[in-house]
Amino acid sequence: MKADPKGVLTGSHNLSGNQACAEGALAAGCRFLGLYPIMPALEVSERFLERAPRVGATFIQMEDEISALAAVLGASWTGKRSMTVTSGPGLSLMMEHLGLGVMLETPCVIIDIQSVGPGLGLPTRAAQGDIMQSRWGSHGDYEIVVFAPSSPQEMFDYVIKAFNLSERYRIPVAVMSDAYLARLQENVVIPPAEEIDIEPRRYFKGETDKYLPFKRDKDFVPPMVKIGDGYRFHVTGLTHDDRGYPIMNEECQEYNVHPLVKKIRDYTDEIIEVQETGIDDAEVVIISYGTTARAALKAMEQARSAGIKVGSLKLATVWPFPEKRIFELAKKVKAFIVPEMNFGQLVFEVERCSIGKANVLFISHGEKGVENIDDILSAIRQTQQMNEVKKCIIELKKGV
């Protein structure tokens, strides 16, 4: 299916990350925004609201983030592609409904503009401190897909992908931006509508009384219906059977929850997207995501011109984690360098997947935020002196 031209602002524009996010959503066919205002995510909603009347999209400003996501889930069941946008504290409030979205297998997109936490933190400064939260923040078992764009253009592209994957797998998908990318203005090329692929929702086509809301197709994804089409279905956040009726025993728990995990774990190859640069001959690989990837790529180029064989593995999807690829690389390379704007989150995953074959260097919050090329370069230099594999994360010492 192709995009609805009404929402696509074809052309070349100078947009901030946040504006590109709203454009991406509209292009992807998002027609409902449930929001609660929070810094630094305001511009996404502002842009969406400004464009909403012409595009025919609806929005509502709710009383808090809890209800914002609840409304989004409700709206999604009416057949509208829906999203919400927030920042760290709001994401924390949304955690319960993230779980509901998973359990009701409701497609929706959550945009998180990360800033420094915990607590109120520093709302204006970029961070990547919610990455583990996006994977583990709600109670119970589930798997989720998370994108981490590094430029306004990627923001636009990934938001569309996020909507597509959320429809494909019937899950909430998160896009983790940050306060730096939110303001970063760059050229964004929006293609014509007919060049944008849209994954249509998988609707049930049979008779109304034959519909079972959680009867899974072979790929564990059940087809959906809309409210108001006469199917009179029931769905619940309780552990349920195919009919959506609650059953409280361990067989049903296995029957219900295991596929929630499997529908992602068994399809990671289709979902995972990484961008590799200079990996083939690399001795050192920088693993990065989101805005830190910008610094990583620059540092890589500088190191290459100094004659060090450095490669870059940029994670477009942070979750599911590309463990197979890193297992492979671990056997080939000397070290991984993981720059993150936090005090160690995804680096633990890299450590796990390095399986004792490669060193793992971690660079925490740089003084210069996303532009910490110097730190990465000094980490690269440090790897040159390493002869043995240490069985722990090596944290780059900085002058702080």
Partner: protein, 413 residues
């Protein structure tokens, strides 16, 4: 310091884990509980409501979990020890304020009786799927302490220990119990008050003008003051300096968040508590926590009968994670078997610390029940027989999974 005899219900009881935890809180000097009813944790709150008022403690049932945890943080800053009690969905709601509490370095205890998830899931039956949430559930960087007791007696003991560690490190402490332990009725011995050690709050005693609420002592933990003593406290959840005033000086503020993380990471050895059994010459080590470790005992027994050398490592504290211990065991262990009532959470941390030196086998269980010990024994046997190195975590196919997904199974209500 010793416990106040007035607060300790010395004696031998036959009670469930929830109630034991409520009594533990009283013994630990908890004077305020704000809660909201949620199955299966309510009994702990009820126990406190019944006995608390008779010894001058206060309780309130708030309008929701957001309110109860905020009230707890407030009560702690008024100078008393405080606690809240919840289960999965309530825990998810509390996430924002847990991070806020960590930012304010507020010592409080949170009892989470885990149930089957996600979402509403199976409210009346067990699960262990909030473990990673307890570590990573709030936004931003922080570290905290989490216990996983396995019996009502431990619920009592570790509730007291949780309060002590919360005061010692000024951080939120989680008791990650589960429905099985919460509703398990067993003998609980409550000792005399003078046998119970209590960590008093580290109050600042100097002149108010010189008080800096976030100036750390050498162990990275600052001293506390309470509202109403003329300190003119300025406490904010925004990034702040030693005075507590908000700052946007990035270099300094990053140092502050780093200390929040480091005060746990660097004091790890003093916090971590493990129980080891026969790990010295074991080929296979079973790593477990909470109710799973009680089931694992049986699995280990069966495996030993089959002639396999099995050791057991029980994580009493799950967070901070015992990286070094696992790494050390990995050097001589062929494989680790990790039974958890989830589809893989703590097992990833075990895998991380093993650094490719041993195989990792996860014995998953979706919740609403505990493992079949035979599954654990089979997983041990599988691990013992597998000689090739396997990258990543092996998910063991349990009897339950085979039953449900392989042929002709019909769900019964």
């Amino acid at each position: 310091m010793k416990a106040n005899p007035k607060h300790v219900l010395t004696g031998v009881y036959y009670i469930d884990g929830d109630v034991a935890s409520g009594y533990g809180a009283m013994a630990a000097g908890c004077r305020f509980i704000a809660g909201y009813p949620i199955t299966p944790s309510t009994e702990a709150f009820e126990a406190f409501c019944r006995w608390g008022p008779q010894v001058g403690a206060m309780f309130i049932q708030m309008e929701d979990e957001l309110g109860s945890i905020s009230a707890v943080v407030g009560a702690v800053w008024s100078g008393i020890k405080s606690m809240t009690i919840t289960s999965g969905p309530g825990y998810s709601l509390m996430m924002e304020t847990i991070g806020y509490g960590a930012m304010l370095e507020t010592p409080f205890v949170l009892l989470n009786i885990q149930r089957g998830g996600p979402s509403t899931g199976v409210p009346t039956k067990t699960g262990q799927a909030d473990m990673m949430q307890s570590r990573w559930g709030s936004h931003g960087d922080y570290e905290l302490i989490a216990f996983a007791p396995e019996s009502p007696q431990e619920m009592f003991d570790y509730t007291i220990r949780a309060f002590n560690l919360a005061e010692k490190y000024r951080c939120p402490v989680m008791i990650m119990s589960d429905e099985c332990v919460g509703h398990m009725t067993e003998k609980v011995v409550i000792p005399e008050a003078d046998k119970i050690d209590i960590e008093p709050r580290r109050f600042y005693t100097g002149p108010p003008e010189q008080y800096l609420p976030f100036k750390p002592d050498p162990d990275l933990v600052p001293k506390m003051a309470k509202a109403g003593d003329g300190f003119k406290l300025y406490i904010t959840g925004l990034l702040h300096d030693e005075k507590g005033h908000p700052v946007s000086n990035e270099e300094y503020s990053m140092k502050y968040v780093k200390r929040l993380v480091d005060k746990i990471r660097l004091n790890k050895d003093k916090i971590i508590e493990l129980k080891e059994e026969n790990t010295e010459d074991a080929d296979i080590v079973v790593v477990s926590y909470g109710i799973s470790s009680r089931v694992a005992v049986k699995g280990v027994e069966i495996a030993r009968q089959r002639g396999i050398k099995v050791g057991a490592l029980r994580l009493v504290t799950v967070w901070p994670f015992p990286d070094e211990k696992i790494a050390e065991l990995a050097k001589k262990t062929k494989a680790f078997v990790v039974p958890e009532i989830n589809y893989g959470q703590v097992v990833f941390d075990v895998a991380r610390c093993v650094h490719g030196q041993s195989n990792i086998v996860l014995v998953p269980h979706g919740g609403a029940g505990v493992h079949n010990p035979a599954d654990i024994a089979d997983a041990i046997e599988y691990a013992a027989k597998t000689d090739k190195q396997i990258e990543g975590v092996v998910e063991f196919k349990t009897r339950l999974e085979k039953l449900v997904f392989e042929g002709g199974f019909k769900l019964k209500e």
